[in-house]
Amino acid sequence: MDLLNALVALTNFVVIPAAAYGAQLALGALGVTLIYGILRFSNFAHGDTMAFGTMATILTTWGLQAAGIGLGPLPTALLALPVGILATSALLLATDRMVYRFYRAQKAAPVILVIVSMGVMFVYNGLTRFFIGVDDRTFSDGERFIVSARDFRDWSGLDEALAIKTSQLITLVTAVVVVAALFWFLNRTRTGKSMRAFSDNEDLALLSGISPERVVTVTWLLVAALATVAGTLYGLDKSFKPFTYFQLLLPIFAAAIVGGLGSPLGAIVGGFIIAFSEVAVTYPLRKIIGYLVPESLEPGGLVQLLATEYKFAVSFVILIVVLIFRPTGLFRGKSV
């Protein structure tokens, strides 16, 4: 029995990674939920939007690194982030003008827009691979750890070590800042309120003099920023591979639906629920249980509930359970 060691191991292997992953999912789900609320469809191109934004950020990062510009202990990518956001905004606005606006003018049914977004997804998909290739890219630099395993062990004298990566802390701090800014924008500013009004009741918003095109443009800009930040943070924390970003679509949608599509708060909560379940279910708990139970009861196996290859099944199961028992999501989104 060693409660402290168990706690440290749990924090190190489950809580911290899941918190960082949850923040990344939450930022992604916020983008999905905004588009669902305002443009009224589920945007399947979101994962690849994240990939494109991250790619733009990576290319800028490489440029900065070649020029010898950096942020010291912090990753250079943070400096390149605004450029990535600008590039993604340009891409999304161009797509809206060329593709989505046409269907909006036709008052196309939402499901048609969903299919359209799939087409856009394939185009983005190719675009990203065309520029940066399909390989795994690592672009984080600067200090790797804030608290390294050895330092922690020396300091605490425990068997178990706790390590906090710079990218994990940056993820959490950035997510808090971005989410606070987004909520401030939506709840306090005139433009933000007009977006909520538009999402709530499009006809009445129009009758109140709110310009739909302006609301849509601002939405795409916000989505570009959220997607690029989410993608870059994920890439810093793990690595960048276009296919992985495409796969992120599932946990992101699961997060948005679990929280309640159309509800920004729900997207955040959903992101953390999905992330914690995914990490907890796929992590071998043997070590942690080993600390908690007498030696005679120690489990023989790994006590890993699901192999990591199956981690997407976790999002799926949660998604199905929520859709069966609480289809509107935890925060009463728009889905029925």
Binding site: G37, F41, V114, R196, E202, L207, S208
Partner: protein, 272 residues
């Protein structure tokens, strides 16, 4: 397509927003021209219907002047709401014209008509349910760039209950209170004319009387009010002008009292 499966994708709420898009086409609209109509707000000889469908209105004429309450009544399917929508520019007129304050506004889109001074309260979905009462009023004043606090105070004076509930989401209010929010929202633009589409639909008789009292109060501030009503007798009681529509045509026109006294109107619409 009319088979059972044609709309299936749109019913999957996890990918398609059930709210769908709005029904008002935001584009289009021409400019206003001077008009010769003498009434402050008038829809003259309006003929037209929805989209490419058959005509619903036939030479229908409705008008209202400042300080007046004009009420459109008639049996179900008479085109009452359609007449209101025609005046507001939500359907295409094949014939006739609409004028407001000496301007012919027939070519304007609904949004442009709001800018021109029309306040419209739709029958359903007339508030932002997820937003607070105060935010609803703020959104009502979206086209204004000046200080809106004065107007908001006036609305709160008119509807004191809204002041108490101003931080509450409008969707949590009772039916009568929601209608007050809806009317308050429309008043926030300081409209030249207020149009109400069945303001008392679905509220209890007591609340209905209270709403009518409030509408009279709004009218006393000098704003002309055009109203479509299902409760014909009560509405005609407060009306300076009444229009009875039957199958999209003007059947009877007169002051509220005249219509209430008219034996034919009584027999056919007011239940004797």
């Amino acid at each position: 397509m009319s088979d059972a499966y044609s709309d299936r994708g749109n019913k999957d709420r996890s990918i398609a927003n059930p709210d769908g898009q709005g029904s008002i086409i935001p584009e289009g609209g021409g400019t206003a021209k001077p008009s010769t109509d003498t009434a402050f707000l008038a829809g003259v000889d309006m003929t037209g219907g929805y989209g490419r469908g058959a005509d619903i209105l036939h030479d229908c004429t409705v008008s209202v002047d400042p300080g007046e309450i004009a009420v459109i009544v008639g049996p179900n399917g008479a085109g009452k709401s359609t007449a209101m929508k025609a005046i507001f520019g939500m359907l295409h007129l094949r014939k006739g014209h609409v004028s407001l304050d000496g301007q012919d506004i027939t070519a304007l889109s609904p949004q442009d008509r709001v800018q021109a001074g029309m306040g419209f309260v739709p029958q359903v979905k007339n508030i932002f349910t997820s937003m607070t009462v105060e935010e609803n009023l703020e959104m009502g004043a979206f086209i204004r760039r000046d200080d809106i606090r004065g107007t908001m105070e006036q609305v709160y004076e008119l509807f004191p209950i809204l002041k108490d509930k101003r931080r509450q989401p409008a969707g949590e209010l009772s039916g009568g209170q929601r209608q007050q929010v809806a009317v308050g929202r429309a008043l926030m633009t300081k409209p030249k004319v207020l149009m109400l589409d069945e303001p008392t639909a679905g509220v209890s008789p007591i609340v209905m009387d209270e709403l009518f009292d409030r509408i009279i109060e709004v009218s006393r501030t000098g704003i002309p009010i055009l109203m479509v009503e299902q409760n014909a007798r009560q509405a005609l009681n407060i009306a300076d002008k009444g229009y009875v529509l039957v199958q999209g045509r003007n059947a009877f026109t007169g002051t509220g009292k005249e219509l209430l006294a008219d034996p034919e109107v009584r027999k056919s619409f007011l239940g004797g």
